[in-house]
Subunit: 387 residues, 2 copies
């Protein structure tokens, strides 16, 4: 087990009507908020009006900025920064999923910054402060609601990059599973893959003696695997929606990292995919992750066999652990397909013509992945397995 520091101070309010706490939570931090969101669904559902009413009642002024898209763009972030400076906003409130939250975090980071925001993402500058961020979650997936990470796409060159700093961790996160009843099946399944992938990135580690975190990871993965089909069959099943929503947060709150090092190569490869083709992150992960597994399984068949047995109920073959390991990967693919997810690029109508470009960009800061460090030719080989 590795040495570690763990601290996650986000206040989570979870359950029916959780969003009603927004006025009180915001008023404790700010006098004027930027209400940041994506498309029109938060307005059509009436959520927007309820949030504004709660804030107004608590004496908090509201400025709004919608239009966040999946793979949130730097240009909108820059627009938000200018707006917040002009309006003297002192809290960024994200109402939406991971893209909205990541965009809100980037705005919060940029408002008090002197230089260009992208310098933080490129590692050329370090922030001294950021505005506080609050969240009303409508799409459980990214785990951004308690994480200190923001992932932004810079349209100038189609770069998608993440930035991690404790300043970005939301101060509060309001999680009401009922708000997810109306999610389209497509977003429900893509979100579940994203959370599953967050756990798998952590699970595949070379660190020994990480029993508790292995088991906590397995607990979280089993819960996601059990509840995604229930939520797809019965979208208004509170129990299933609640399990998925809480699992999305637990998956990415840093607890499952403690004592170990994650891999994150699949995420980086998928970032290239969604930067070029604007694929939803979870959908891209459904294609990339099994291909990555297939490519690296021989590096540690024991770990893959444990994953297969404990998460996917594969009976162990003690004479051939590799067989158990490969059966686990087959079960992952079968599960994704049974939930209506694509597992090949062909299904996304993506050809092989830009494999070289993606492979080159994925490793341009050096090899990716900690479980098995991957170079350009490895990434290309994984993309070949994604066809």
């Amino acid at each position: 087990m590795r040495d570690f520091t763990f601290q996650n101070a986000t206040k989570v309010i979870f359950g029916r009507g959780a969003e009603e706490a927004v006025g009180a939570e915001a008023a404790a931090l700010a006098r004027k908020v930027l209400l940041h969101y994506g498309g029109g669904s938060v307005k059509r559902s009436g959520l927007f009006d309820r949030v504004v009413a709660s804030l107004t009642e608590a004496g908090v002024d509201v400025v709004e900025l919608g239009g966040v898209k999946p793979n949130p763009r730097l240009s909108l972030v820059e627009e938000g920064i200018a707006l917040c400076r002009r309006e003297r906003v002192d809290l960024i409130l994200a109402v939406g999923g991971g893209s909205v939250i990541d965009s809100a975090k980037a705005i919060a980071l940029g408002v008090p910054a002197d230089g260009p925001l992208w310098d933080f993402f490129e590692g050329r500058a370090k922030p001294g402060e950021a505005l506080p961020v609050g969240v009303i979650l409508t799409l459980p997936a990214a785990g951004s609601e308690t994480s200190p990470v923001s992932v932004i796409t810079n349209e100038r060159g189609l770069y998608k990059k993440g930035f991690r700093n404790a300043l970005l961790r939301p101060r509060f996160a309001l999680l009401n599973p009922e708000l997810t009843f109306s999610l389209p099946a497509e977003q429900t399944r893509a979100g579940a893959v994203d959370m599953l992938a967050h756990v798998m990135e952590r699970y595949f580690t070379n660190e020994r003696d990480v029993e508790l975190t292995d088991r906590l990871c397995e607990a979280t993965m089993r819960t996601i695997v059990a509840n995604l089909p229930r939520a797809l069959t019965d979208p208004e099943n509170y129990a299933a929606r609640a399990e998925l929503m809480w699992a999305s947060t637990v998956a990415h709150c840093d607890l499952l990292d403690t004592g170990r090092e994650g891999d994150w190569a699949s995420h980086k490869i998928e970032h290239e995919l969604s930067a070029l083709y604007d694929v939803a992150h979870g959908i891209g992960l459904a294609v990339v992750f099994p291909a990555w597994m297939d490519y690296v399984v021989d590096h540690d068949p024991s770990r893959f066999a444990q994953f297969a047995h404990r998460v996917w109920d594969v009976e162990p073959d003690f004479f051939d652990p590799g067989r158990t390991a490969r059966e686990g990967i087959a079960r992952v693919v079968a599960f994704l397909r049974s939930c209506g997810l694509p597992t090949t690029l062909q299904e996304l109508a993506i050809g092989d013509d830009r494999f070289d470009e993606m492979a080159r960009k994925a490793v341009e800061s050096g090899p990716i992945g900690a479980f098995v460090p991957l170079g350009e030719s490895d990434v290309r080989a994984i993309l070949e397995r994604c066809r």
Copy 2:
């Protein structure tokens, strides 16, 4: 699943040499600390001197108060409060296990308070503030290092009572598994029972649809069960000590409570036992918990069967889940005994002469337990099963 609020802001620094961070962490919060500890072992081991050196180097002044005993006493807490007021201490640093931490929290609570400290524990007053608390953990057991609870024994009447308030949650906790290498087997096993009991109290709930927290509880229990024997056989096994230490914190950090209600009757019955007989808390729990299980198993054989199967690898008897359930309890008892723990009062040389008194005191504020609410006669019946 129940609605909940979850926030645990304690900064955990975990690993080899973690205690060396004490100077920097304390200096960020205070200019003068009360170094609070139990017996002489922290001095004999050299830990005390290392802590004082780190604090002094960071420019933090030190006042010391040792002498905390298991089931920490109100009289020493009151002595600590007077000392801190006199010396203008602004941080209480607990170096020890749960008793020392609980005593430190009570001092932190009492220093700025106007009225008698015990009023908080009796529910007659609410605190507005408390001094910050920091922890260097030497005995993984109580989980007090990130919990907002303090349990104190009032010698005037031998009352043992807990008080919960977010103000009591430690600001930092430094966890070095190497500091536990020298723990006597007796404390290692009693500590493990305490942490196991913290999870079991949460596990046995009437709340439905708590799959993720069920599984996180099972992950934590399996880890404790796997690693206690390793630590007893090989006290300097870093991996086993680290798993136990991190499990003690995870068990009691409130995450395993999310969405459900714990029972806590066994803890309350044990509190009566240790108030009267000064039994170590974990030892008392090893006696009381199986007796409680035996008394309440028929209330929900399905939950006990799940516990038996998922934590203790009992093969399910689908025709008779009650048989699976009872086999799980038998495995708990067998495990405790195999680790050298007593499971009867007879082994502790405690007779039945004060059963009535304990049963009466346990329920004097009303029935105890949420899974099965227990009255005086129920508590007496459980004590009978402890003989």
